[in-house]
């Protein structure tokens, strides 16, 4: 801190020699003149002294018979006149400062965080509709109004926060994790639960409705499992009326799934020839500048190696550069061996079984085989599974009457 203050005020390194340098030092201290970095080289003493104090040295030096000369000048009072001589540098410095001050008034980057259901593109369109864009002035942005508009436009957003961090607008949102439950209109005639698969019923938990099957029954696809029409009996066991409800039950059915997957016997592999070309580019905002170029190779892929300086990234300045690298390759045809085909098909089967388990399907046993045909490898077989079933269908009054009659019989 003292060093900074001395730099601001300016100081000099002096050399003294003469009759009584020690007395010179003592007189300086008596006059409250600070001396530092005092060292002796032969008969000479060198030391640092502030600029103001140096102006008071003449009587002391005369009194003690000491001569003092300046070796080096330090600090702002010496730096500024030297700086003023370099006019182009000064203009550049002022322009640079002006550029930062002006650019600080604008928004140069918009970041969105916490969006899962709302895609980036949808949100960008929304921001464009709200006149919020990269390059707008900060003072034109009403953050609280923007937050309100986000919540109003996207009902799934439960919380939102927008803030300006330097020249960056940071928008954080939180979406509702739970699905939005919309009140379904109640079916007047009630709803039945029918089977989605053909198989054997292995378990049943009925919460609403009349069960039409029992554990161990064999059901077909479309078989009525739980009826949404609940009869209300009179005291003489005759039906007085029907109460219509939506059938609700957890019914598991054991059934067989047919699994089939194929893999072509041959595949195309990209083989790079090693020839490559690169072109530099400069990107400013959404505009890109690069040298025009014809198609470099017949078949090639492109890799973009971009670079944004850390300072630009921190200040959200949308300027970056890099190079396009074009790599030539050839399409070479290969054939799968039995082992490769087995590995790939088994991996795909495993993915299928994992996806089934994620859906709550219990796999009891599987029997699959790999066979080679003329054009492809085929994996085929049966998988015995146990899974929840039940699809709601509206109960029709005409069918109910006939069904009821049959059941009564």
């Amino acid at each position: 801190m003292v060093g900074i203050l001395e730099f601001l005020k300016g100081y000099v390194r002096i050399k003294i020699w003469g009759v009584s340098p020690e007395r010179f030092l003592n007189l300086c201290s008596n006059k409250n003149i600070l001396l530092w970095d005092i060292s002796k080289n032969g008969n000479e003493y060198t030391m640092c002294i502030s600029l103001n104090a140096f102006r008071q040295l003449r009587p002391i030096a005369r009194k003690t018979g000491v001569r003092a000369v300046i070796l080096q000048r330090y600090g702002l009072p010496f730096f500024i006149p030297r700086l003023l001589k370099r006019k182009v540098f000064l203009v550049g410095l002022l322009l640079c400062v002006a550029f930062w001050i002006v650019s600080y008034r604008f928004i140069w980057d918009i970041r969105l965080d916490g969006n899962y259901q709302i895609s980036q593109e949808v949100f960008q369109d929304f921001l464009a509709a709200q006149q919020v864009y990269v390059g707008m002035q900060k003072e034109d942005l009403d953050i609280s109004a923007l937050e309100k508009e986000i919540r109003r436009t996207f009902p799934e957003v439960t919380w939102t926060s927008a803030k300006l961090n330097g020249t960056r607008l940071e928008i954080s949102i939180k979406e509702n994790d739970a699905p939005i439950i919309t009140e379904q209109p109640r079916e007047e005639g009630g709803q039945d639960l029918v089977s989605e698969y053909s198989g054997i019923v292995t378990s049943m938990i009925v919460r609403s409705g009349v069960p039409m099957v029992k554990i161990g029954d064999t059901v077909e696809e479309g078989t009525l499992l739980v009826e949404g029409r609940v009869p209300i009996y009179n005291e003489d066991a005759t039906i007085r009326e029907y109460l219509y409800t939506t059938a609700d039950a957890d019914i598991t059915v054991e059934h067989t799934l047919t699994y089939r997957d194929t893999l072509p016997t041959s595949y195309i592999q990209m083989t790079y020839t090693g020839r490559r070309e690169s072109r530099f580019y400069l990107r400013v905002g959404s505009r890109e500048f690069k040298l025009p170029q014809e198609r470099p190779y017949l078949v090639y892929d492109t890799v973009i190696q971009g670079h944004t300086p850390a300072m630009f990234e921190k200040l959200s300045i949308p300027v970056s550069w890099g190079q396009y690298v074009y790599r030539e390759y050839m399409n070479v045809e290969h054939e799968y061996t039995l082992q490769q085909a087995e590995t790939l098909l088994t991996e795909k089967e495993l993915q299928f079984l994992t996806s089934l388990e994620e859906k709550g399907v219990h796999i009891i046993e599987k029997d699959v085989k790999i066979e080679e045909s003329s054009a492809c490898w085929t994996m085929e077989g049966q998988i015995l599974v146990e899974q929840l079933t039940g699809r709601l269908v509206p109960t029709t009054v005409e069918n109910e009457t006939s069904d009821n009659g049959e059941q009564n019989e």
């Binding site: 340098p21 300086c28 201290s29 600070l34 001396l35 970095d37 005092i38 060292s39 003493y45 030391m47």
Partner: protein
Amino acid sequence: MKKKQADGPSRREAIIDSLSLPKDVLLGAIKVTLTGSQEAWIENYKGILEYTECQILLQGKNCQVCFEGQRLCIEYYTNEDMKISGCIRCVRYQ
């Protein structure tokens, strides 16, 4: 009269001791603080009598203090205190 002069300082010291007052302030004793053999802070001195690379002789109120060593340098020097750095080999009171 001589007895009075001889007894004077001791009585004064006794009073300062009994009142637990700082001796460096009241007696004007030179105060030296050493950090290892590289740095020394000195207070209550009157001035520099001699300064070379190997020796710095300071005048106190009652005595002289001599710092001996190599590459001795005065980092700062004010009316209140000073700091000596370098390789201090010996501190001698004269």
